[in-house]
Symmetry: C2
Subunit: 678 residues, 2 copies
């Protein structure tokens, strides 16, 4: 996907959701800038960018550039980026995760989506125009207005996806302006020695017990896919950071929350070239990679910066290079002549990684059992401490992070914990900070969306709770979100079904009364890798669902200025048992992997069908069977008791959709009994 | 959409469905060719193409062409084509609706999809290889093998969509072969004076009572959309035949079943150019079109063949031409410089036409009431005559066509009637012929998918019936198809939802037991226009659903070699009444427009939920209210009685999904009563 789509789609999906529109800021607010005032007013959160812009503009002039486009992503189209790649943030002061800046010789503008409008007004100074859209058409229109005909519009081609490059190229085509790729990054030049240095921490091999298969077997599998492809590609180019990490069973910590390291791989039918800082490889990792030398399973190590030159040389031959267009930069793409490219949305490494083998499935399940322990500890701790008014969103987030760290194989959170009380949970993309954090209360709903990195798996779960008396709307909305979660989990569907075509089952119960949520319904997840793992999920550019894939299922509902609900569980795609079978492959369904009960206080049983209640009861049985023993093993007796209480089976007979028939019979019964004097 | 996709998608959707794979023909069958026999065996259905190929090849040599690609569509990417455009059929003998032929100097091959493999083996002679795929990659690979490096691969750019051209272009890029567009069609040259002449019948204005609005108002509306578009297009190019017919309220009969005529329109902000055979316009039509002359509402008439030259001249100016890339040919597209194009999937005429105004809605509803009368007459006639063994598929199709013709405003069938008994209904794309037609029987299921053209609307309905004892699987499958139909009709969904994301609701009841169908779930429909009207429907390239759109909803199930089921109704998208409303626009739902009851003999009530039964009962009330009076007006008393019987309300209390609760209460009741001696 192009960066704006790629990033925006994830961001919308996520942890922060764009359900409502951010309120437009009245200019009398003191926490946002007012550039029309005399003198202009800037809040303390704004960054003075005058000097930075001056330096960048002098560099633009040196290169004959009239406009320079700065994106928010890195050279690997990563969702999370390192400090060193936060060029947009440094240049503009804006710290949101998605945006595009354009600097001309006398103007500067930032484009971002509605989640970030208020934040941008807090962080930008008056050098910057804020453009409240992210469409490339809008950016290009602005550029055409500001850049003289015959002017040069420039960008770093290693920071833009193929699609985005093409969009700019089309928009400027025929306008007289030239779209000029410059391999040297002009923001980096301006940033100079203030730019954070590259990571120097160790790149290490995963212990064998935590790998799904040996890297040599993975390489053999990918080479087999290359041979079986009609176009007979001679090489696969890997530029997603998880691709190289997964392929070689290596991990690092270059990116927050994601145990990956800066790298590229060119895997050919006879050679393997890994581009990364060689000095950072552990002794063990180096031995593992070199164990097949010389030979087709020998990994040749090259410096990270060598990838372009190496690819250029390789592309001189009679070769065909397979790459994933969704996340390869235009810079790398343009190195290979068109006729030598095999362009597919995803590389075979991405699609192989998406289907977990039996051992990987077992590891993910095991990680979720321990993760459930941490979440249950947190829920019980909240129950005890919230009424005393001593917990706020930030200390809550710290607490659950601590519970996770205490679990075996923990490597910390898998993303910045979302911990949102009351109206904050309705805000898009909310994470608390130490300075401003709402106190949790038994009078408000509380939503937490958190996850952990463990050596055996990555987790991600959201629960929403209320310790007091929820309003009727809160209870109905929560129940309908839960019904959506259950309906999608219970769905039986043909093999090879696209997630996009079934995600509405998670929405229907809300739709029935005119409610909805504005984010995606789920995303893939890795084994000690990204918490958002492409290409699995329910978006239009995800691949069809196959047995062995893991995805989150996370419907929600967000009432502006009031409350927010999300229920998120991880699901494993498994074969379904059906009486018949249209087509050649077994039908599929979802197995729930997350193991934490829902808040009984928020469930209106009368809305649930008997099938939905039966699903809940069997889920609760499963939680008891898997988490109960682990709580005992960890000697968490209070939590064990809490779990038993929280997973008491629900009575099926009070079910809502059975109401018509049951009521008729009940009425009959009552008449008969009264007639009989009973 | 590209022609293969465009055509294949419709064909798969439709009237003929590709649920199962066509059986591979054993070479001992006498109805298919055997080119390995000595001498080769050809069935009587095969066409001798030796002479045609020889003529075409001499023309290829004259033009220096090494391979010539022949598609199945016309210059408007029409779904149905005229005899004059049946180039593929003339050249190959193959009469299926979708395929691509390539002729080199010594070879000839036809690519088509699984629906047509057996038919192709019956119709092709041994000059032709049959390629059992339709992928452009496969065609290109074959061409690369057969055409020498430096060779010319040619085609008529006015018969290929933009997408398809690009696919061929990419596939041949860098191979040394040249993709050579030739504006003169080489098959037409070979066909010579044997090619059917163009239609000479009248192009007429629709009477005012049958138009949704005056053409001048439609033109004003389109111009308003042009002004409101960010790119400020100066013109819209219309190349879909329904576009021009709809815009000017004109009709013709150049294409079977579709009341359209060969035409293009270039609508600019100040002028209107209509390209069609001027001599064919009725006096009235001509007067209407010229009534605004001179002025911006004056329609300038040009000959059909002048469109390219005119567009070329227009594109010299400072202009921006808006066109729909899904159905514009590469030939027209290439005339306009890239920077002067506004490319969207559909033109504003296509999207305006898709939303019917109040009068258009009323007309479509009225047409469906009369259409229901014809279908009910047919159902009653079948009930009476099938047991006597005198009806076959072909005579049945003739009979329903006759019933329709007798209705007011009828203009004949809207497509070739599908009338399929027993195992024939499981066959893809089945229409009976006079020579081979299965006799209808009370021991078999019967499926008919038919529709009518009326001056006020186009109809399309499918019913499946059984006059005897259906098998348990037939009954369960029929009931689940019906449940799917009901579930999608009952769905409440947000405005702007893509059909693709909700069509699975029509499948879930089947999926639950491992069944499915292999075609789309529905398509738009016109007011006395195409029975398959883009861009509405449930496919991935359809536009989001809006109030005022009409679409079919047509789930099915096909059991190879045994039986076939489809239930199809036309739906109008309407605003839903919901308690809440997320987003700015009201939620939507479907209102059923087709008014014919289902076969009670095939419904297993125990599978239906109370909500589904209530929906059925309210639907039946509606049928009685609308069709009953019309039957009386037409003095069809037997049909009236039949309708009353067929629309008796179902008992809700026996509902399936209420079974659990009801059974529990019933058991309790039984215990109590027995205990009380009752």
């Amino acid at each position: 996907m192009s960066p704006p789509l790629w990033i925006a789609a994830w961001a919308l999906l996520l942890h922060g959701c764009a359900a409502g529109r951010a309120p437009r800021a009245p200019s009398t607010r003191s926490d946002i800038r007012d550039c029309t005032a005399e003198p202009p007013y800037l809040p303390p959160t704004a960054t003075n960018t005058t000097a930075r812009l001056a330096v960048l503009r002098s560099i633009l002039r040196t290169h004959g550039v009239h406009a320079y486009i700065v994106p928010s992503t890195d050279a690997h189209m990563s969702e999370y980026i390192s400090e060193r790649d936060a060029r947009l943030g440094w240049l503009t002061g804006f710290t949101g995760s998605a945006g595009t800046a354009v600097v001309t010789r006398d103007k500067a503008a930032l484009w971002t989506d509605s989640r970030y409008w208020t934040q941008a007004e807090r962080e930008l100074d008056c050098n910057w125009e804020l453009q409240r859209t992210t469409s490339i058409e809008s950016i290009a229109t602005w550029i055409l207005k500001e850049v003289p005909a015959e002017g040069n519009v420039s960008l770093d081609p290693f920071l833009f996806s193929i699609d985005t490059w093409n969009s700019y190229s089309r928009a400027l085509h025929g306008s007289g302006r030239t779209l000029l790729p410059l391999e040297t990054n002009l923001v980096d030049q301006a940033w100079g020695d203030q730019r954070p240095p590259p990571s120097s921490s160790e790149i290490y091999s995963l212990p064998a017990e935590f790998t799904g298969s040996r890297w040599q077997d993975k390489v053999a599998g990918i080479r087999q896919r290359m041979e079986q492809h009609a176009r007979r590609p001679t090489a696969v180019l890997l530029s997603g950071l998880e691709e190289t990490a997964w392929l070689f069973n290596l991990r690092g910590d270059d990116i927050p929350y994601n145990p990956v390291f800066y790298s590229y791989t060119l895997l050919t039918n006879t050679t393997i070239s890994l581009f990364a800082e060689q000095s950072r490889l552990s002794q063990e990792a180096r031995q593992s990679l070199r164990s097949g030398c010389p030979g087709p399973l020998c990994v040749e190590l090259h410096d990270y910066g060598q990838v372009s030159a190496h690819l250029h040389r390789y592309a001189q031959g009679n070769v065909t290079v397979w790459l994933g267009t969704e996340y390869t930069t235009y810079g790398l793409y343009a190195i290979v002549p068109q006729e030598k490219l095999l362009e597919e949305s995803y590389s075979p490494v991405m699609t192989a990684k998406a289907v977990k083998n039996a051992h990987e499935q077992e590891m993910l399940r095991a990680a979720h059992v321990r993760d459930a322990v941490a979440v249950i500890q947190y829920l019980l701790w909240l129950e005890r401490t919230v009424p005393q008014g001593q917990v706020d969103e930030f200390s809550g987030a710290q607490r659950i992070d601590a519970f996770r760290w205490a679990q075996e194989h923990s490597r910390g959170p898998s993303f910045e914990s979302i911990s949102a009380s009351g109206l904050n949970a309705a805000l898009a993309h909310y994470s608390p900070s130490n300075g401003s954090s709402r106190t949790l209360s038994a009078r408000e709903m509380y939503l937490f969306d958190t996850g952990g990195q463990y050596l055996d798996g990555t987790t991600d779960i959201t629960r929403t709770v209320h310790w007091g008396e929820p309003t009727p709307l809160q209870k109905e909305a929560y129940t309908r979100v839960l019904m959506g979660n259950i309906d999608l989990f219970r769905l039986v569907f043909p093999s090879n079904t696209a997630g996009r075509t079934v995600e509405s089952f998670a929405r229907r119960a809300l739709w029935d009364i005119g409610l909805n949520y504005g984010h995606g319904t789920g995303h893939g997840i890795g084994n000690f890798l990204s918490v958002h793992e492409w290409p699995v999920g329910f978006q239009s550019n995800n691949v069809p669902l196959e047995a062995g894939m893991f995805t989150s299922i996370e419907p929600g509902y967000y009432q502006d200025g009031d409350f927010g609900i999300r229920i998120e569980d991880i699901a494993l795609v498994v074969e379904a048992q059906t009486e018949h079978q249209s087509g050649e492959k077994p039908f599929l369904t979802f197995e729930v992997v997350s193991l934490v009960p829902y808040d009984r206080n928020l469930i209106d049983l009368s809305l649930l069908s008997p099938e939905q209640i039966r699903y809940l009861n069997s889920y609760y049985e499963k939680i008891r069977a898997h988490v109960g023993p682990e709580l005992r093993r960890q000697q968490l007796e209070d939590e064990y008791v809490w779990l038993q209480e929280s997973t008491e089976p629900f009575a099926v007979s009070s079910a809502g959709s059975a109401a018509a028939g049951s009521l008729a019979l009940a009425a009959l019964l009552s008449v008969l009994l009264s007639g009989l004097g009973a």
